[in-house]
């Protein structure tokens, strides 16, 4: 009964969504205020029914209703309860349901939090979002119904969730990632509304910026969580593989980053307008492309969902309709939104333009590398398959990012409209000297080995951090006290600096880990030991341990630091009972400056095992930096400027404005 209720709720959501896709938009084009006003109740209704549908599927999982095919394939009565809940999005159908639920949530959030928006813009935005929701709901109901029943031969027990997914990562990674992906639909909808109305001014950019920042911050956390999950779950000690599925999440992030910067220019200076629109379209289109690539099984990847050509075709059609439609509209209407002011050399506009070019070029090169196997296959036939490996991406991406980091340091001191060259050089030469000198000296203090990559990375990271510090110092110089100076700076300024510092931290993390990690895969018999730096790892053998739904071979590895017992790590090899799958559980001692990473390989007779032992300096900083970036994005959203109500007369009654203030203050 409950699954049917869920199915019915999704159908009702589809009906409400269809109304919301049409009525407010038609109302906005014809000036019918009542139709426009329908967008708020409709989006609330759409959201309620999506929550209901999602809740019904979660109910089926929590109550082990194996008559539902999706539950039977992805759950098991022995599964711990939190994994039963997370298993809702553990495979294609349910994760698509989560996707649509999040889409409806963003739409509802826009309708709640954008009361200062002119009604005609809100109506258009809401219709565009509903249109996307409807497309995905049709796809969900027609090809991937999660409520399909196995009534005739209901299994007594479920197949179980893929053991690789039975992890804390499954609980948090997909929701954050989808919040990011789908969040770009808001910027997309605002862009379409701007194209439809031809109004693209500072106010438009101010409405769009917090939503873009929010989506971007979610995506940042989502990607970082995915990378962290891969690091400790796949058992290879690597945190980024340039795998197609990683790439498709990274591309919207890069374009989203470009969009955040270009929106800043559009708001402050009224230029880059059509470029901003194009970026907003591109960010969401790349999110959709990601969904398509992951779900169509076109590209070999560690993440790919089960392959079904029919789904792929429907999704491709949807993708082409949304991307093609928006680009067509862009081609028709882009000339309407024109930039109004000018800017000269060394201006902040120029630096942000360079930032945008570098980010977009990086995206294009990742896109080329990701799709190249498909293009190659289409040209040369199925027998000639190729794959593009990490060396391609590293060769192109790292120089581009080095350039980006360098320009970031310079642009910190640039000004809008025009910057005198000697203003830049005066501010920068000491920083340049200091960061280059420290970049060369610091690595030599650690090891005599000459490591140009590490040197460049340290120099660039310090270059950014010094720039952030010097800018803060200068901005607080003319105030009564440093403290009052710090108070007078806006939250969006702090957000920017925190995010930039986060980038520096990531650069340090990535480069120091890559250069100074020590990775050993050894065959070890009980009693064998291995020394890495000041650590000694003693393999004490493997014993059996019973878990709730698995049996584990649990290794004992004593770690000594400078000869003194430090701790014991227990990496495991687990065999899950329901499917018989084998799964490696690594044991990591996380530290601020280094991780000790151990994993069990396979047994090699006489109690000997292949053991993987890595010492990875600064790897924690990769995720710390990503967290700082997201925190910066959120800090910027909290800026008062975004909460100021518009001075448009009659747009909003005062009581509403106070409500609004209340909502946002919480």
């Amino acid at each position: 009964m409950i699954p049917e209720l869920g199915h019915f709720a999704l159908i009702l959501a589809l009906c409400l969504g269809s109304l919301q896709a049409v009525l407010p938009l038609v109302g906005a084009q014809t000036g019918n205020v009542q139709w426009m006003q329908l967008c708020r109740p409709l989006s609330a209704g759409l959201w309620v029914f999506m929550v209901l549908g999602f809740g019904c599927l979660a109910y089926a999982f929590l109550h082990d209703d194996f008559s539902v095919a999706y539950v039977a394939h992805n759950s098991n009565s022995l599964l711990p309860v939190y994994y039963k809940f997370a298993a809702v999005w553990g495979a294609h159908e349910g994760s698509l349901l989560l996707w649509v639920l999040i889409l409806a949530t963003w739409g509802y959030a826009v309708s709640l939090l954008s009361r200062e928006l002119p009604l005609d813009i809100l109506a258009r935005v809401m219709s565009v979002m509903a249109l996307i929701t409807v497309g995905f709901l049709i796809f969900l109901l027609a090809t991937s119904n999660p409520f399909e029943r196995l009534l005739l031969n209901t299994p007594a027990e479920g197949v179980d969730l893929n053991p690789l997914l039975q992890d804390f990562g499954l609980i948090v990674h997909p929701p954050f990632l989808y919040m990011g992906y789908v969040g770009f639909s808001v910027a997309f909808a605002f862009a379409i509304a701007a194209l439809l109305t031809g109004r693209l001014d500072a106010a438009w950019a101010r409405w769009t910026r917090p939503w873009t920042n929010a989506a971007w911050a979610f995506l940042t956390i989502g990607i970082a969580l995915g990378s962290w999950w891969a690091y400790y779950e796949l058992g290879w000690g690597s945190w980024w593989f340039w795998d197609p599925t990683e790439n498709v999440s990274f591309m919207p992030w890069l374009v989203g980053t470009a969009l955040i910067h270009s929106l800043a220019v559009t708001e402050k200076r009224g230029v880059f307008k059509s470029w901003t629109i194009l970026l907003a379209i591109a960010a969401f289109s790349l999110s959709l492309l990601g969904a398509f690539i992951v779900r169509s099984g076109l590209i070999t990847s560690v993440h790919a969902f089960a392959v079904d050509p029919k789904r792929g075709m429907v999704l491709l059609t949807l993708l082409l309709l949304i991307i093609g439609g928006s680009l067509f509209l862009y081609a028709l209407r882009a000339p309407v939104v024109k930039g109004t002011s000018t800017y000269g050399g060394y201006s902040r506009e120029i630096f942000l333009l360079i930032n945008n070019i570098l980010l977009v070029v990086s995206t294009a090169m990742i896109l080329l590398g990701t799709l190249f196997p498909l293009i190659h296959e289409a040209i040369y036939g199925e027998a000639n398959r190729v794959s593009v490996g990490p060396p391609y991406f590293n060769t192109l991406f790292l120089p581009l990012m080095a350039l980006l980091a360098f320009m970031l340091g310079v642009s910190t001191f640039s000004r809008w409209k025009r910057t005198a060259l000697d203003h830049l050089t005066k501010n920068l030469w000491k920083l340049l000297l200091a960061s280059v000198a420290l970049g060369i000296v610091l690595p030599l203090l650690v090891s005599a080995r000459f490591a140009p990559g590490a040197m460049l990375a340290i120099a660039l990271a310090l270059w950014i951090l010094f720039g952030v510090a010097q800018d803060l110092w200068q901005k607080t110089a003319n105030k009564a006290s440093r403290l009052s100076g710090l108070r007078s700076l806006s939250l969006s300024y702090y957000g920017m600096q925190v995010a930039h510092a986060g980038l520096a931290v990531i650069i340090l993390g990535i480069c120091l880990t890559s250069h100074y990690s020590i990775e050993e895969d050894r065959r070890m018999a009980p009693g064998d030991s291995l020394s890495i730096g000041s650590y000694e790892f003693v393999f004490k053998g493997v014993e059996e341990r019973k878990g709730p739904n698995y049996v584990a071979n649990s290794g004992n590895i004593d770690v000594l630091r400078n000869g003194v017992p430090y701790l014991t790590l227990h990496p495991e090899k687990r065999r899950y009972l329901a499917r018989g799958d084998v799964q490696t559980e690594v044991a990591i001692e996380v530290g601020f400056f280094r991780d000790l990473f151990t994993a069990l390989g396979d047994p090699r007779g006489d109690g000997a095992w292949v053991v993987r032992i890595h010492v990875k300096p600064f790897v924690f900083w990769i995720w710390l930096g990503a967290f700082l970036m997201a925190a910066g994005g959120v800090t910027a959203i909290l800026d008062r400027r975004y909460r100021k109500k518009l001075v448009h007369a009659g747009v909003m009654p005062t009581s509403d404005a106070q409500d609004m203030q209340g909502v946002l203050d919480h």
Binding site: N162, L164, L234, G235, W236, G297, L298, T300, V302, H303, A304, A306, V307, V361, M365, L368, G369, F372, E382, A383, N384, R385, V386, S387, V388, G389, P390, P391, Y392, F393, T395, L396, P399, D521, R522, R523, R579, D581, V582, Q583, T584, A599, G601, D602, P603, R604, G605, V610, R612
Partner: protein
């Protein structure tokens, strides 16, 4: 030349220069990062040079996996597309879903003895999921075998 023209020339030149650098970087990167995929049959047909970096795909032949009695972390197995078998040597930790009778994709090179020296063995998310490469390789192998049995 007046300053406006100079500026335009500068912009054009930097675009040309940027494009040239980008194209040459991409060519270098492709040269390093591109792995062509081959099936055991294609390797037997001599389509691959020794020590060329490639990917192979096929099934791990049942009963071919040797783990014990070898030095260090070395393992040996046979990859097959049902038509041709190729011995594979790998040193390191195997992915969890590596199993006899299952599909495998390996990256590495063929040495002078015709042994595939694998640098990396690819892992799969799902044991029911077979990569398109392996699927195509198996089909091609079966096809070839069928042809072979028709023409004695």
């Amino acid at each position: 030349m007046n300053s406006a023209r100079k500026q335009k020339l500068g912009i054009v030149l930097s675009i040309v220069l940027g494009a040239a650098i980008a194209v040459s970087l991409i060519l270098v990167a492709f040269d390093q990062g591109l792995n062509v995929f081959f099936t055991p049959t294609e390797i037997a047909d001599g389509k691959v040079n020794a020590h060329q970096n490639i990917r192979i795909g096929g099934m791990v032949k049942v009963g071919s996996l040797v783990k014990e009695g070898l030095a260090g972390t070395r393992i040996e197995f046979v990859a097959t597309d049902t038509n041709i078998d190729i011995p594979v040597v790998y040193e390191g930790v195997l992915p969890d879903i590596f199993r006899e009778g299952q599909g495998v994709v390996a990256e590495g090179y063929v040495d002078e003895h015709g042994v595939f020296q694998a640098r990396q063995i690819m892992a799969k998310h799902d044991e029911n999921y077979m990569s398109p490469e392996v699927q195509a390789a198996m089909e091609a192998g079966r096809h070839k075998q069928a042809q072979g049995s028709l023409t004695p």
